[in-house]
């Protein structure tokens, strides 16, 4: 975890409707200094809308937007201490790399020598030293991306907003930029608000992940929390792969599903409360049939590179299992789950 300071941006009950469609249904969110926060969700979940409200390009219909405790919902974008890295970079095609980066400082009539220092320093930070005179339209996607980041960072914003900035890059470059972005964030020590629909991206870069769906926040937490302790079926399904099974909480630390009682570590549910259980495919062990908590037959095996994806059919359902050990189709196997790898969630209200 990065060292997080005070709350810098506060969203309180933010709502927004476009053409009769409710895009945001009451968003409450605190964003801290120094934090790398990711808004994660499928397209149309409202994550970009939140970003645009913070940037000032659109105004929320309801709720409050506080910046360092002061309501900024009526402040125009050019007066806000945030800068944006746009989805398609939005670099000015008529300016070279240097002038693109210097744009914000020149608008603010900063002294030329200071502009020069800052632009050079920022270009170095994003790894584009010596690219000053290049035509931005002739740069590669990754380089344009870096210019866009430099153009925003050079203004020394308190918060940097990034709207799916890696979406247009190929897989390998994406991975590189993820590492790089995280490094840049730690170096400049400001808050990054990052929007993506890519769960892997969110998990590997963020201090905090905000999972969204249909204009509502589903869960806020660290990547580890979000993955290991999803709060509902949506989060469990969206982040990673999972087996989701309906069941009952017999009592604290004992859950029943598929007519079998499993010891677990979850507490605080009502007796016999209906719940849903998440089993990550990599958390299920394949053992001898007589040692298994559940028994089933292997129906399908797919090689996935690092692991095999094995489907095991029990008399109740099919389980998806990730393991590095191959199994023959048709083998009878037992399935086992450690108590601390069973995660119990409240059933989702729809």
């Amino acid at each position: 975890m990065a060292d997080m300071g005070n709350c810098i941006i506060e969203l309180k009950g933010i709502t927004k409707t476009f053409d009769d469609q409710q895009v945001l249904r009451g968003i409450d969110l605190n964003i801290y200094e120094n934090e790398f926060l990711t808004l994660l969700g499928p397209s149309g979940c409202g994550k970009t809308t939140i970003l645009r409200i913070i940037a000032g390009f659109i105004e929320a219909d309801g709720g409050e937007l506080l910046f360092n405790g002061i309501d900024i919902s009526k402040v125009p974008p050019y007066k806000r201490e945030v800068n944006t890295v746009f989805q398609k970079y939005a670099l000015f095609p008529f300016l070279n790399v240097y002038d693109n980066v210097a744009f914000g400082l020149n608008i603010k009539k900063v002294d030329k020598t200071i502009v020069d220092q800052k632009v050079k320093k920022t270009l170095k930070l994003v790894g584009l030293e010596g690219f000053d005179k290049r035509d931005v339209t002739l740069l590669s996607g990754g380089q344009q991306q870096r210019v866009a980041i430099a153009r925003a960072l050079v203004n020394e914003p308190k918060v940097l907003l990034l709207d799916e900035p890696l979406g247009a890059l190929d897989a390998k470059l994406r991975k590189e930029m993820q590492v790089e972005l995280k490094k840049i964030q730690q170096e400049v020590g400001i808050t990054f608000i990052f929007v993506t629909h890519d769960q892997e991206e969110a998990l590997s870069m963020s201090d905090t992940v905000v999972v969204m769906n249909e204009g509502k926040i589903q869960q806020i937490g660290t990547p580890v929390d979000i993955y290991n302790e999803p709060e509902n079926r949506f989060v469990a399904n969206f982040i990673g792969e999972s087996n989701i099974i309906g069941g009952n909480m017999i009592r604290d630390c004992l859950v029943r599903f598929d007519d079998v009682d499993f010891p677990c570590v979850d507490k605080g549910f009502k007796e016999n409360e209906e719940i849903e259980v998440v089993l990550r495919p990599e958390d299920i062990d394949i053992v001898e049939p007589e040692k298994g908590q559940l028994v089933g037959e292997v129906t399908n095996v797919v090689f996935k590179g690092v692991h095999y994806e094995i489907m095991v059919e029990t008399d109740k359902r099919q389980y998806k299992i990730h393991t590095t050990d191959i199994q023959e189709v048709g083998t009878k196997v037992g399935l086992c789950v450690d108590p601390d790898l069973i995660h119990v969630m409240y059933t989702m209200e729809y």
Binding site: A55, G56, F57, P76, P77, Y78, V82, N83, T84, F86, Q87, K88, A90, L91, F92, P93, F94, L95, N96, D99, F103, G104, I107, K108, K133, D135, R151, A152, N155
Partner: protein, 276 residues
């Protein structure tokens, strides 16, 4: 693809017959005397010398001045119109652009006659002034009537290229300018206007070239005595019959226009290419 290349041949022949040959004839006429007779041909530069006479220089100056005024007014109104149109939804934009072009569907002559009936001594405007008790104003056969006619006639040529460059502009560039601290006005100048410069240059070139070579509007709205380059050329061919002198004027005008197009293109590159 290669076999399709031969398809271009008829077109080359066509353009040669209809564009290159007449052009060459104009060049030939401009440096000879003896009119249409190809037998008594005699090479001379007299025709060009004649253009140097003060009376003709005056015509050129007047034409360029008028063209300049028309272009500036067209740019001013055309830009505003194009900008406003570009703010609408895509569907509304195509309808509005249609409205801008509708006058072009009607013959220039008819449109110009309409202006006469509006502007003349006992036309619509003066009748109205009379009704509200004001003195009639002379509008016909003045710079005002000619410029008005030209601006209205040529406005679409300014609006369409500017609108095209404004409408295909990436809106996120303007947001980026706001984001980087630009006010509305700064964002407009530094981004919107800069990006529309190619459209502006196209529009300015077209309007200026059309306005200095026109002859119908100045003839009808400016009266017979209002001689511009276009009228001068027309007179040489139609009434005076000095095709050689007419060709010389046309050629000189064409050369001046080419020079201007070249200059504007260079300006465009300087604006657009930065330090490249």
């Amino acid at each position: 693809m290669k076999e399709f290349k031969s398809l271009v041949k008829p077109y080359i022949l066509w353009s040669f017959l209809l564009i290159i040959v007449p052009l060459l004839l104009i060049v030939l006429y401009s440096v000879t005397t003896g009119g249409n007779s190809l037998v008594n041909i005699r090479f001379t530069l007299e025709n060009f010398k004649k253009i140097g006479e003060p009376i003709y220089i005056q015509v050129f100056v007047r034409s360029f001045r008028l063209g300049l005024i028309t272009t500036i007014l067209c740019l001013l109104f055309g830009y505003i119109l194009a900008y406003v149109i570009a703010q609408f939804s895509e569907k509304a934009q195509s309808i509005l652009i249609l409205f801008v072009t509708i006058p072009m569907w009607i013959n220039t002559l008819l449109r110009t006659y309409a202006w006469i009936s509006i502007l003349s001594e006992n036309g619509i405007v003066n009748s109205f002034l009379e009704v509200i008790g004001l003195n009639p104003v002379t509008m016909m056969y003045t710079d005002f009537s000619v410029v008005l006619g030209l601006v209205c006639d040529l406005l679409p040529f300014m609006v369409i290229p500017i609108h095209t460059s404004l409408s295909k502009m990436d809106k996120s560039l303007i947001e980026a300018a706001y984001d980087l601290g630009a006010h509305r006005w700064q964002a407009f100048w530094r981004v919107t206007f800069t990006l529309s410069i190619p459209g502006v240059i196209n529009g300015v070139t077209m309007v200026f070239l059309l306005s200095i070579s026109t002859f119908v509007i100045p003839k009808l709205l400016g009266g017979g005595q209002y001689v511009l380059i276009g009228n001068l050329i027309e007179n040489q061919f139609v009434s005076i019959g000095d095709w050689n002198f007419g060709s010389a004027i046309s050629l000189l005008l064409a050369i001046l226009m080419l020079l201007m197009i070249n200059i504007t293109k260079k300006l465009d590159k300087m604006e657009g290419g930065g330090d490249l």
